[in-house]
């Protein structure tokens, strides 16, 4: 279970990157996190992996307060929370096998376990024929899959994917989404940050919408266009309320 309790993040500018965000994500959930650029989606993910500290509020993962984990113990959190980075962060001088294997090496697994784990996960992302290839020789979609494979090979309980379908054609994006759904079916909580409205609309999964650092909607079966409209409606409604209050005061 992931819990964000009144979480804010202030980088010192005019606007807060995150403002009083509270949300609960149960184990095994599959969630889309959407919103325009600069809404605070990536900041939220970075708070979950403790790349950043919240300015206010608490973040609990399985009941453990992420903010108070000592630096020297952070690796234990990051083994629990896998991440597919927006820029993928693949090791360009290592082969596909080595890139994925490193996710298990850091856990101290044996060579046999690593070989089996890597082959299994390569099967899941359908890239078993690319085992000895370097990332520079792969297409963008293949690189995305390798990044996913590395994030899941160690069996994390949570997978955060930051724009896993960015710059991909619709067909490849659907393939990536299928992989993430499979990962979710294995029991992993999956949180996907995306701008891909077609995918969000097609999946009909829980969707959190952020704007200007605020969580503006949390829909059980969200839709990209629907949530945007809801945000506008909500904004319009609150403006209308303010106007009514002003009128009442004048009267």
């Amino acid at each position: 279970m992931i819990q964000l309790i009144h979480v804010s993040k202030d980088f010192g500018g005019a606007n807060k990157a995150l403002s009083d965000v509270s949300v609960e994500i149960p184990d095994g959930d599959f969630i889309f996190l959407i919103g325009p650029t600069g809404a605070g989606k990536t900041t939220l993910l970075k708070l979950l992996t403790r790349e950043l500290h919240p300015t206010e509020g608490q973040i609990l993962i399985d009941g453990e307060d992420v903010s108070i984990i000592p630096e020297s113990q952070l690796y234990l959190l990051r083994r629990k929370v896998g991440m597919v980075f927006q820029d993928l962060k693949l090791l360009m001088d290592r082969t596909v096998f080595e890139n994925i294997a490193v996710g298990m090496e850091v856990l101290g697994k044996s060579t046999e376990e690593i070989e089996k784990g890597v082959i299994d996960v390569l099967g899941l992302v359908e890239l078993t024929d690319k085992v000895d290839v370097f990332p520079a020789q792969l297409s963008q979609g293949e690189k995305q899959r390798i990044a996913i494979a590395r994030a899941i090979v160690s069996g994390p309980s949570v997978l955060l994917a930051d724009e896993p379908t960015g710059n991909l054609d619709p067909e490849t994006s659907e393939d990536i989404m299928e992989i993430l759904k499979e990962v979710n079916q294995m029991g992993t909580t999956v949180v996907i940050v995306t701008h891909n409205s077609l995918l969000v609309d097609a999946q009909k999964r829980r969707t959190l919408t952020m704007k200007a650092g605020e969580l503006v909607s949390d829909e059980i079966k969200g839709k990209y266009h629907y949530t945007k409209r809801a945000h506008h409606a909500k904004k319009h409604e609150s403006e209308h309320k303010e106007e009514r209050k002003d009128h009442e005061k004048e009267d």
Binding site: E51, S72, Y75, L76, G82, L91, V106, R150, S154
Partner: protein, 299 residues
């Protein structure tokens, strides 16, 4: 471990000039430190040799002999400050002289037992007692001259101290220099691999998983440098073995170690020297890496 070794090898291979600089610095440090240690060791052996010798030798007049020596021994024993005494008769003195000059027949021809004085070698329980014993010995019957080993030992002691002090300071300065070089080299390597380190941290690598290849790398530089230094030092010792034995052969330790370099004692001492050098080399390199890691990577 296999992965760590290959990662370590990759680290070294990607920046060979820095690696060579680190190994060379370590080599020079351990070469000079090793030579200093050997010199100090030999100095102490020489010192010990002289200290184990009788601290003073009493030479008797030509007519005097065993009876005067016995008298003197009784007097000295009465002071309670004597560890041992040994009487050397004229005949024994001649035998010693012959042994020392066996390669020079001309010197042997001219000497008989009559012209060599009998003597008494005296060792005090503490060298500080020698000053008190001197007037007692000089007043005894038949005594011609008293020769102190103290003068030789004092001179040797001042040399040994000088070697120890200069060598010690030099070794410490070189060790600091090596440490700084290792820190710089490892620091540069950390900077080169910063992106990879950041990725490893984000995917759950423990601090020790990240540190270990760098620590091993620093350790390997120290180990390699000290091992090469050991080879060079042993080659030098082997090359100059004859001269050393000819000059210091009277000292038992030198004779045992260098007399036969394939003897068990000699091999054990060489192996001990090697183990000490490479252990210290590895530790010096590893500590340099650790300091650098603490400075450049925050966990």
């Amino acid at each position: 471990m296999k992965k760590k070794t290959s990662s370590l090898w990759t680290h070294i291979r990607r920046s060979p000039y820095q690696s060579i600089a680190a190994v060379l610095t370590m080599f020079i440090t351990f070469l000079l430190t090793g030579i200093f240690l050997l010199t100090t060791g030999i100095s102490f052996a020489i010192l010990q040799y002289f200290e184990s010798k009788p601290q003073l030798t009493v030479f008797f007049l030509e007519k005097a002999g065993k009876s005067e020596a016995d008298q003197l021994t009784t007097i000295l024993d009465g002071t309670g400050k004597i560890a041992s005494t040994k009487f050397v008769s004229k005949e024994e003195a001649l035998a010693i002289y012959k042994e020392q000059n066996k390669n020079d027949p001309l010197l042997l021809e001219m000497v008989t037992a009559d012209i060599l004085p009998a003597s008494l070698e005296v060792t005090a329980k503490d060298p500080r007692f020698l000053g008190e014993l001197e007037p007692i010995i000089k007043q005894a019957d038949g005594v011609e001259e008293v020769v102190f080993q103290k003068d030789v030992v004092d001179s040797l002691l001042s040399w040994t101290n000088a070697i120890r002090n200069v060598g010690g300071v030099l070794a410490v300065l070189l060790a600091i220099d090596s440490l700084l070089i290792i820190m710089t080299v490892i620091g540069m390597k950390i900077a080169l691999k910063k992106e990879e380190i950041d990725i490893l941290k984000l995917i759950g690598a423990s601090p020790w998983y990240i540190r270990m290849p760098f620590i091993l790398e620093g350790g390997l530089y120290g180990l390699t440098g000290s091992f090469i230094a050991w080879i060079v030092i042993m080659s030098l010792v082997f090359a100059f073995r004859g001269s050393i034995v000819a000059f210091l052969g009277a000292i038992p330790v030198v004779q045992i170690v260098l007399g036969n370099m394939l003897s068990t004692t000699s091999l054990l001492i060489s192996a001990g020297f090697l183990v000490s050098m490479v252990t210290f080399g590895f530790l010096l390199g590893a500590i340099g890496s650790l300091v650098s890691l603490g400075r450049y990577i925050k966990f």
